[in-house]
Symmetry: C2
Subunit: 406 residues, 2 copies
């Protein structure tokens, strides 16, 4: 028997409690021993809920109890969650978490404390919800040097982009409002639509793949706030989908990590990933291409990933599990300036002559095909570096918008 404590009885915490109750028998068998939740920490009361009998409002009860070997931190945030995680690891307890803010912000330090205390800090649910992407990297694709990972790592933005594509002409703000009403988007949606959330996730995943800590604050991050119904219509007309991609890639110039909306061609494996689904493309030097798709959020899928961590903690009771994120150092990322791409640029019709001077495109896209955009045209640039494009875009100075081709 191994005893665990759950910090926080919110959406994920109650999911964890329920998954362990419902699948008790198979979980115990797979863990190799019985897993008992001895405490659930929450300041609230839950009268009538079966959790009542293990509820505590004191973290000290947990951290001072030598029987507790696994602490499940599903409180969120970087305040108390940080303190409790640190104290748990220092007390020789394994910690399992879904808290991507905490892992992205303090992962380097927490991984190091876990190593020193010979316990495990697991965070499968921090990236890709129920998709077992971290364990796939650490325990499944072990024969490969992984040189690229490209993900749709945020369900809210993928839902918004999918809706905008499927309901041609609907505006970003209208879909966002609808997503908020349905509970698919937060009241303060900034972490999603400004892409801070997928930036944290790709920082975590690249730390595991490349061994040293990638600081999410170093990741070039562009959200989808400016994507308009017209952008989507151009994309569809050209046979592309607009997807918010988070990518980490080893190149001759170094390791690059960025998050931005891209025009993705129909034959790309992430093209068909719609709605709230998440998906992660991985390239291994022996394996080639692999894609993992699944629910990126939700109480039970997230709890399923957290409980898989708990089972792994039980399997590794007293032992360190392998994790690729192994160096106590920060990774210096390469600049994105020299990445070569094509760009879609929308301009007002009257600026065509100037656009020809600056960008010299092969031609302009037929505006008729995209409907009522009568006073504008668009063009696709030749392949050029991000830096070259930025300079030309600034020189031109009057474009409506621009989008990167993947």
């Amino acid at each position: 028997m191994i005893k665990a404590a759950v910090l926080g009885y919110g959406t994920v915490g109650s999911g964890v409690y329920n998954v362990i109750r419902e699948n008790r028998e198979l979980i115990n068998e797979r863990a190799g021993q019985e897993i008992e939740i001895k405490y659930v920490l929450d300041l609230r009361k839950f009268p009538g809920d079966p959790v009542e009998k293990v509820l505590t409002d004191s973290f000290d009860d947990i951290v001072n109890d030598p029987e507790v070997k696994i602490v499940v931190e599903v409180m969120g945030g970087t305040g108390a969650a940080y303190e409790f995680t640190k104290r748990s690891l220092e007390a020789g307890k394994n910690v399992c978490t879904s808290n991507k803010e905490l892992v992205a912000e303090h992962g380097l330090e927490l991984m190091s404390i876990a190593r020193e205390n010979e316990v495990n800090y697991f965070f499968e649910a921090s990236c890709g919800g129920g998709i077992p992407i971290i364990r796939a990297i650490n325990d499944c694709l072990t024969a490969d040097a992984i040189d690229q990972i490209t993900g749709i790592l945020n369900g809210t933005t993928n839902f918004i982009l999918t809706e905008m594509t499927q309901k041609d002409g609907v505006s970003f703000s209208k879909v966002l409002k609808q997503a908020q009403e349905n509970g698919f988007a937060e009241r303060d949606p900034s972490a999603d639509i400004d892409a801070y959330d997928p930036a944290r996730k790709i920082a975590i995943l690249s730390s595991i793949i490349f061994g040293s800590s990638v600081d999410y604050k170093d990741v070039y991050t562009e959200g989808i706030r400016k994507i308009s119904a017209e952008d989507i219509r151009y994309a569809s007309t050209l046979g592309y989908a607009v997807k918010l991609l988070a990518e980490a890639k080893k190149t001759g110039d170094g390791i690059r990590v960025y998050v931005a909306p891209f025009l993705l061609a129909e034959d790309h494996p992430l093209y068909p990933v719609n709605g709230v689904m998440n998906a992660v493309y991985v390239h291994g030097n022996m394996l080639g291409d692999a894609v993992f798709t699944g629910a990126g959020a939700g109480s039970l899928p997230t709890a399923s990933a957290v409980v898989a961590d708990v089972i792994d903690a039980a399997r590794h009771d007293g032992k360190r599990a392998y994790c690729g994120w192994k160096h106590d150092e920060k990774l210096a990322l390469a600049s994105n300036d020299s990445i070569k791409r094509r760009f879609l640029v929308r301009i007002y019709t009257e600026d065509q002559a100037d656009a020809n001077k600056v960008f010299a495109p092969d031609g302009f896209l037929d505006t008729v095909s995209v409907g009522e955009l009568e006073d504008e045209v668009a063009f696709i640039t030749g392949e050029m570096t991000e830096q070259e494009f930025a300079a030309k875009y600034k020189e031109f100075g009057k474009a409506i918008s621009r989008l990167r081709f993947y």
Copy 2:
């Protein structure tokens, strides 16, 4: 340091040898110890190949060497491979294999011998090539009761069906010939096109999910030999793809396992899986839907999966790893008779009246839309059981073909 022997220096065996050489450093780090290939067994000579210095033609050298803890069986077949696997396990050595014939045919016995001798029998590469589906089930999706798995598990047939779809009107035999010329299909293609290969793979996967051995000979197996250009054209016109699916599903009536071509709708996650790619859909009772996609065959992707097994064997040196396939008994499958589906039936135009009598379809599909099929029509049945349909189909007795809707 842990020592290994590779049985067979063919496509997969040489891949294993090369993956371990090329990724030596990261593999040793992930295994937690150095992995050395002490022997490669092959009756052939390979003058000038680095393998020469470890080549042996005697299995006794390997099985009698107490230093060898891991045997990699990549010979294929169920003759010598069976004997060598058995003797290796009995000698207390872990065995890693890509040999799906052997696992499907003798898995029950070999798993049992592995258990008795407290060693591991790993076979990640036997299903889905480089897709880490077995480890995903055993080690990643551990919090879930998996109640369904649906896969495109054979690259050759998926390539043929994709080509027939993309080159509208091309015949099965022409594409098969082309696939044979390109090396995507065997000279004797029966294991693929008659679906014995995916039947073996789904039998292995269902044994892991449901715990007891599923005999591939009990799996209803229908291949793609009869799929014609006209079938494909009907499918495309209706917005469906024809896919050879291998499915295992827990239902109220028991566990069902079958392999057959199906008409798959555009919004199904396996619809976009084209060419030689494999993909596996998994449903967990907490996780919901997850899909794993990757290269189903090829020397390096397959070797990548085998080497991941070798690493896991090194990690579990002296310990048993968890495997869901845990009971020494055969699983009795439920009959497919009561599965309810719709069917697409093609008939000659002159038989419409009779078809109306037997099947009473809502109407007939507009033959114009599918081109030159002037003397035939098709209809979609209402939902009925496999048994009801089979009876009606027999009674009608003069259909051109029939296909199941998924």
